[in-house]
Amino acid sequence: MSATNEIVQDHGQHHHKDLAHHFDTLEQQHDANTLGMWAFLLTEVLFFGGLFAAYTIYRYKYSAMFEEASNHLDITLGATNTVILILSSLTMALAVRCSQTGNSLWTGRWLLITIAFGLMFLGVKFVEWKHDYHIHLMPGKDWSGKDYWHWQYAKKAKDMETEAHKNGSAEHSLPDRKDVLADNDPSLGVRGIQESQQARLFFLLYFCMTSLHALHMLVGFVLIGIIAYFAYQGAYSPEYYSPVENIGLYWHFVDIVWIFLFPLLYLLGAHMGH
């Protein structure tokens, strides 16, 4: 391949202040940045994809237990979080829109509002995890092998909750661990180790997926914060706003992951009666 003629290129001159030296035009730079983010999201899809694959296989192998285990998650909290996250996606879209129109002030504001919704999401998530921990749904070293009383405990807690619900009381107490252990008679136990193991796999995948998702949100907060700072400084203009657009793409991706996680984790067993 020979380049027979060459065009003169003026190095270091007529460069827009936001144009990096190795790009020729802002347009090229913007395209490269956006495309780079999309390619990164492709990697992210496959990253979560590994977990979705594990979920799919175990869901296929242990479908009944997965539905039952799913029933122990709180749909109300899950749905609340879905709404919050979609709201944050909307505010993020508005932030990008403001940066396109050159409204730096509102770009920054919408970004901060997005972080606020994100924090709300994690707050709800934290409450939920805490509850899961108290009713022994969090898989850990002690929930291994034959010690399947954790699952018995979770089931008992759920029964008590349903009972309290029926009686019209919002408050309900948690079961006593000793009672659960006393009832934990394998010779009578219809539901044994296998159930416990399969339920634990569900909760393990639940915790892995939701915490990986939460980790992405935490990273998002930092990045959004930085970009909001620059937005307030007036760093972005209708000609140069690709950082805002890219963080937007990232945030929407985080939203999409949740859009799939919500039905797969929370609604799986809803039809079994809640």
Binding site: M1, S2, A3, T4, N5, E6, I7, V8, Q9, H11, G12, A20, H21, H22, F23, D24, Q28, D31, A32, L35, G36, A39, F40, L42, T43, E44, L46, F47, F48, G49, G50, L51, A53, A54, I57, Y58, K61, Y62, P139, G140, K141, W143, S144, G145, Q194, Q197, Q198, R200, L201, L204, C208
Partner: protein, 555 residues
Amino acid sequence: MASVSLESETFKKFADVAGRDNDVNYLNHDHSITSWLFTLDHKRIGLLYLVTITLMFLLGGALAGAIRLELLTPKGDFLTADTYNKAFTAHGIIMLFFFLIPSIPAVLGNFLVPLMIGAKDVAFPRLNLFSYYLYFAGSVIALTALLLGGVDTGWTFYTPFSSTYSNSYVIVMAVGLFVVGFSSILTGLNFIITVHRMRCPGLTWFRLPLFIWGIYATSVVQLLGTPVIAVTLGLLGVERTLGVGIFDPRLGGDPILFQHLFWFYSHPAVYIMILPSLGVASEVIATFSRKNVFGYHIIAFSSIAIAVFGFIVWAHHMFTTGMSPYAAMVFSLLTFSVAIPSGIKVFSWLATMYGGSISFDTPMIYIFGFLGLFTIGGMTGLFLSTLGTDIHLHDTYFIVAHFHYIMVGGAVLGYMAGLHYWWPKITGRLYSEFWGKLSAGITFIGFNFTFFPQFILGYLGMPRRYYEYPDEFQVLNVFSSAGATILAIGYLMPLVYMPYSFFFGEKANSNPYGGSTLEWTNTTSPPSPHNFEKTPVVTEEPYHYHGKEAAVVSH
């Protein structure tokens, strides 16, 4: 350029010591240590990778030497069983993740991708430097795992051995691989965007050099496959730390799922190693035959085809695991689909040489070796995609020989060919042709001596990863170990004459081999810091030698 006058003082001082010419180039424009360690210049980052992966290669090679020494006799006498297991695990991990995967993409790719497409740099120079430091951090973590006591799981980390039974530093190693995986992802991402968005005017897709097609296809695999191994190793770490059953059947998990997830990346990873080599072969054969590449479009598409087909064949590593026989048949058929584009490439190269004007410089000698070894490696792959024979050959030395023919015979010889071919461009110096050809010849002979006996060993049934073996396998093992010493000499020679040439070699002109791509025709050797004085404009297809001769020769 404004910067020249600023640097001229420093430049004069050091350039004279190194005996450099007086042009400003990327090597001599700034000599400070920080200008190397924090460089955003893709060429310098390529050299940083070159130094680091060479060190890793030496370590991996030393481990291979220990393995071959142990296998000289049937009884375990040189290493203990445990040390041997840790040695082959470390050999596999270092050679695959820390040498082969970054070899051509990160060294030659970094140096050449912007040069070959007429760009000033990769699309994201900071990300590029970050990738290097991720690689560096990953290496440090992996070496830490080795220093702590090593890992004895084999590079495949099969569960439940790795998740429950192994008492070695699996998690540290997994973290190292996780980190280096992200280095690989970000490098691939950078190249994809660079090829898409940074090509110079007139350089359409079908005017791209085939090396760029190879790197592009590789980058796609890196982007799609690596995250899956990252999350799989993450799950392995969770299982090991928390003692919960994701892959351990005693706890309700499924060990075969681990293999599915592992090979979903690790089979395509083979193509991360070999595709760039195939690209180098196309470049070298065209240049040293002075001829356009036969079937350019088909070769370009076959790279993409190999990359995509690479993702649908992974379960051929699992035919004996007790997977569904029906799925085994499907995967066997799909596996053959990779053979076709590979074959097309080899035949097209032969047609390129046909009627050419072939010169026997060192890179071409390496590529002759590459052609032979890659062909044997590819052909022996057919034994393994065929179900009936795979059952017998699986997990024997046949497999070991097969993938070394592909990964060493194919990938490493391609890398050596590329390194020799572009060495004048990288350093501005010529190495000794005599020593170059000698090392190529010795490597080829030593390689065959080492690995061909292993095909027979495998057919006789010797399982892999044995540190002791029944007496009847000794003859071939002795052959193999003897060959390894020859191979080691072949590898060590370039480590002497290439650095020597860097300092004392004859000065190279901008295009010593008559290459036709932009890095030869449009810039100096070594290139200036910003690659091109003027942005090139491409007006014709690559490898356009013909027509230029009209004034010289008519035929």
